[in-house]
């Protein structure tokens, strides 16, 4: 088991955003979390990545307790992510963005940076080469020196993924990675997600609204509603689950 969340609870004031959710992920799988708006999906991501600390419950990653660790420590442990509203370092170049993502992989040494010893320079060269590889992987190689902010929307999404992959994560969390894409771009993105898993061996967990994407690539799907996990299983299982249908079609059918 790569990720093991047990009975996670997160409250904001009176609102319980995540309610007693348990969730596990096997290595090298493609997973999705779906749910209506406000279901607590992003909050769940934030719990895993350490931006919020769960009020109750435990989170284990790769056999190690990560609850209470800082986001950068969790990243170092091997969980990387993208954001719902793209958060690139807008004024930096494309390749610099990827290099920042590599932070945990580099030996950060003040005196190395000041003295530029050969070891430091070699490391920089390696990092540069690896970043270029990653850009190649997501198809941005020829835009390496452009300023991130000037990229078209789809490219920004892909750059965010490249940046997230730069830290050699074991688990990649994608927060609505195809939001705002046209069908062709979505298809490209799906193949990218698959390649991430197949070529790089990275486990993927994504939040997605686009059912075509979700059903097309996910091996397991969990459904959140009102902060609770209401269903989990293969795409087919989830598709047929009455709770899910209810959650998506609204509660009007439920007798009051």
């Amino acid at each position: 088991m790569l990720l093991d969340v047990r009975n996670a609870v997160k409250r904001f004031g009176g609102l319980t955003a995540v309610q007693n959710v348990s969730y596990t992920i096997e290595p090298r799988t493609l997973n999705a979390i779906i749910g209506p708006n406000g279901a607590g999906k992003t909050t769940f991501f934030n719990l895993i990545t350490g931006i919020y600390v769960p009020d109750e419950g435990s989170i284990e990653f790769n056999g190690r307790k990560i609850k209470g660790l800082r986001p950068d420590q969790i990243n170092r442990a091997g969980i990387s992510r993208t954001f719902q509203n793209i958060r690139l370092f807008g004024a930096m170049s494309v390749i610099e963005n990827v290099l920042v993502g590599m932070h945990t992989q580099l030996n950060i040494n003040l005196f190395g940076a000041m003295s530029r010893f050969p070891t430091f320079q070699a490391q920089e060269r390696r990092a540069q080469a690896k970043a270029e590889q990653l850009l190649e992987f997501v198809g941005l190689r020829d835009k390496a020196n452009e300023i991130a902010r000037n990229l078209p929307y789809g490219d920004q999404r892909r750059l965010e993924i490249a940046r997230a992959l730069a830290g050699d994560p074991k688990l990649l969390l994608l927060d609505e990675p195809t939001a705002g894409m046209n069908p062709q771009e979505s298809l490209d993105a799906m193949s990218l997600f698959r390649r991430v898993r197949d070529d790089l061996g990275v486990t993927v967990l994504l939040i997605e609204h686009d059912m075509k994407v979700v059903m097309g690539i996910s091996e397991r799907i969990a459904v959140l509603d009102y902060g609770q996990k209401i269903a989990e299983g293969t795409p087919d299982e989830v598709r047929r689950n009455p709770h899910v249908i209810e959650a998506y079609l609204g509660r009007s059918t439920e007798s009051n």
């Binding site: 950068d72 958060r87 370092f89 920042v100 993502g101 932070h103 940076a113 000041m114």
Partner: protein, 605 residues
């Protein structure tokens, strides 16, 4: 103006640009060069404006050439009036240059005549030879690279300009505050103009290690100015790490400077007996180099100590806390003169508001004094008294010391910026949440920024105390922190070159240009000058409005104007320039959407 020369500029444009500056600078040279000779005796000089003498008439003649070029340029520039004709400017520049050569030949002969020796080549009187060298280099440059011509002529002219003006001249304040800034910004011009790396380094070494010290030996005020510029520049580079790279607003930066200054001061002041109740200073002057290192470390640690509690804060909260911290350090040094329960017989650490007098400077080897003395004699500035030799040598020593330390600071800052650390800082500045999610340890990186920034100020503090030989809390007030902040912003936040340029501009403005303006008015007053046209005798200017009393006002106005017309700073970092550009573009779009006729007038965020 001509910095950021884009490689894309077309050759005609380059030639034109170069020609115009060439013409302007030659005009300056003609105007001012000969004055120097005027001092060797009454009416023996070749003063351009001594119309009636043969030289005067001659000079006036060749002065007209570049003037004609100028006029032609002004007329031809606007394409609506006449289509531009680059060949005209090239011709004008060549004619001007040729005229310059003739002029220079005359000057050279004159220089040799007056000194009568080849040794006078270096001397200020034999400047003709120098002029020849520079002009020839410039003209050669014109044939293959107008930019090189331009910069060589700029350096040459500004150097002679500085050398040529004398304290005795009535308008000395005016000339020196044009000439010296011209010379001090020349390294930036060298850096900003595209040319072979070797040429760049050669020109930089020429200006920084030869021309500026030469000027400084003759007039130590110039050395003082460069030393202060360098001290502020190194601090501004440190602050730039905190603000420009890591995006943390620090309003109490001067505190770290105080840490370094008091570190050296407390241990070597002659007041050490009141400080530590010993009869001798605790550290010998030889320990200076050790203390320079200790200053770096102590300030770095202080930076971490400040950083630890404030890292949770953002933006303006950080600003007020750092401001408070700066005040705390200042109040501490002014209060640590009494840390026992007996108010009168006190245990004294910093000598309070009295300040620490008699701080030691490092002892220099005797050979250095002799060397400086002989160099000075060689360039025609005999140092007669022992105290003047000492004064000049010390100033030169501190000049090269701050230059070295400042240079190291620049290199470190540049290397950090272009390293994983610098990238992490930029990432934190751009988007803290995303940076942390990418594994950047926020706290450690911010602490590092604080510590690095502080350590530069600590080193400069030690040097400052040794140079001033006296420190008191007055040097570390809030306004000083603001002064450094102004340097960073005016120069161009995030850009190392910009910050250096900012230090030059702001420090010169404060210490030289504004003061000289006051002095100029004063000397015009002494001369009973009457302002032409309005016929206003300047003597009647009320003393309540004496310019010396309103330097701050002028400084304030300049800040406002600067921020309005060039908010990204004089030489902005590429990233910043882009951000500003984007803001402007947005405004344009908005304006276009609103159908506003004049874009950029009414910006809405």
């Amino acid at each position: 103006m001509i910095q950021n020369a884009q490689p894309k500029a077309n050759p005609d444009q380059m030639a034109r640009r170069s020609a115009i500056f060439f013409a302007v600078l030659l005009a300056f040279a003609f105007l001012l060069m000969p004055w120097r000779n005027a001092t060797s005796g009454p009416n023996t000089g070749m003063g351009l404006l001594r119309i009636g003498t043969e030289y005067g008439a001659f000079s006036l003649l060749i002065f007209l050439v570049p003037l004609a070029a100028l006029a032609g340029f002004a007329a031809g520039f606007s394409q609506r009036i006449a289509p531009h004709s680059p060949t005209f400017f090239q011709i004008a520049a060549r004619v001007g240059g040729a005229a310059g050569l003739i002029y220079v030949a005359v000057a050279m002969i004159y220089g040799l005549q007056t000194t009568g020796s080849v040794g006078g080549m270096l001397s200020v009187q034999g400047m003709g030879i120098w002029v020849t060298l520079f002009t020839a280099a410039g003209l050669i440059g014109l044939t293959y690279n107008p930019n090189v011509t331009f910069i060589i002529v700029w350096i040459g002219v500004s150097f002679f300009f500085v050398q040529g003006i004398r304290r005795e001249m009535t308008l000395f304040p005016l000339w020196s505050s044009i000439a010296f800034p011209m010379l001090t910004i020349s390294p930036f011009l060298v850096l900003s103009i595209k040319m072979p790396r070797a040429a760049q380094i050669a020109l930089l070494v020429l200006v920084v290690c030869v021309l500026l010290p030469m000027v400084g030996i003759e007039d130590t005020f110039y050395l003082e100015l460069i030393i202060q510029i360098s001290i502020f520049a190194a601090m501004a580079i440190g602050l730039n790490i905190v603000i420009g790279f890591a995006g943390l607003l620090d309003l109490g930066y001067i505190a770290f400077f105080a840490v370094g200054a008091y570190l050296w001061g407390m241990f070597t002041s002659t007041a050490a007996d009141t400080v530590f109740k010993t009869s001798n200073a605790l550290a010998s002057p030889d320990a200076f180099w050790l203390f320079l290192l200790l200053g770096v470390i102590a300030a770095g640690i202080t930076g971490v100590l400040l950083g630890l509690p404030v890292l949770r804060l953002r933006g303006d909260y950080l600003a007020i806390v750092t401001l408070g911290f700066g005040e705390i350090i200042r109040i501490l040094v002014s209060n640590l003169s009494n840390i026992s329960s007996n108010p009168i017989r006190r245990v004294n650490l910093t000598n309070g508001a009295q300040g620490l007098p008699g701080i030691a400077h490092p002892i220099l080897p005797q050979g250095l004094y002799d060397l400086v003395k002989s160099i000075a004699a060689a360039i025609g500035v005999p140092l007669n008294t022992q105290s003047s030799v000492e004064a000049v040598t010390l100033q030169l020593f501190f000049y090269f010391l701050v230059l070295t330390v400042g240079g190291i600071a620049v290199i470190i800052a540049a290397r950090l910026d272009n390293s994983p650390i610098g990238r992490a800082w930029t990432a934190i500045r751009e988007d803290e949440v995303a940076a942390v999610a990418m594994g950047v340890p926020r706290v450690r990186m911010k602490l590092l920024a604080f510590a690095m920034g502080a350590s530069f100020a600590g080193a400069m503090g030690v040097i400052f105390a040794a140079k001033q030989s006296f420190v008191s809390p007055e040097s570390f007030s809030f306004i000083q922190s603001i002064f450094i902040l102004v340097i960073v912003i005016v120069g161009g936040m995030g850009s190392i070159r910009g910050v250096l340029l900012g230090a030059v501009v702001v420090t010169l403005l404060n210490l030289q240009v504004l003061k000289n303006f006051s002095l100029l008015i004063n000397s015009l007053k002494n001369l009973d000058w009457v302002v032409p046209i309005i016929n206003f005798p300047i003597r009647n200017w009320p003393s309540q409005l004496e310019p010396a009393r309103y330097e701050r006002l002028v400084f304030g106005v300049l800040l406002i104007v600067m921020m309005i017309y060039r908010p990204e700073g004089i030489s902005p970092a590429k990233r910043r320039r882009m951000e500003m550009q984007e803001a402007a573009d947005q405004t344009l779009e908005e304006a276009a959407a609103e159908g506003a006729p004049r874009p950029g007038m009414d910006k809405i965020e």
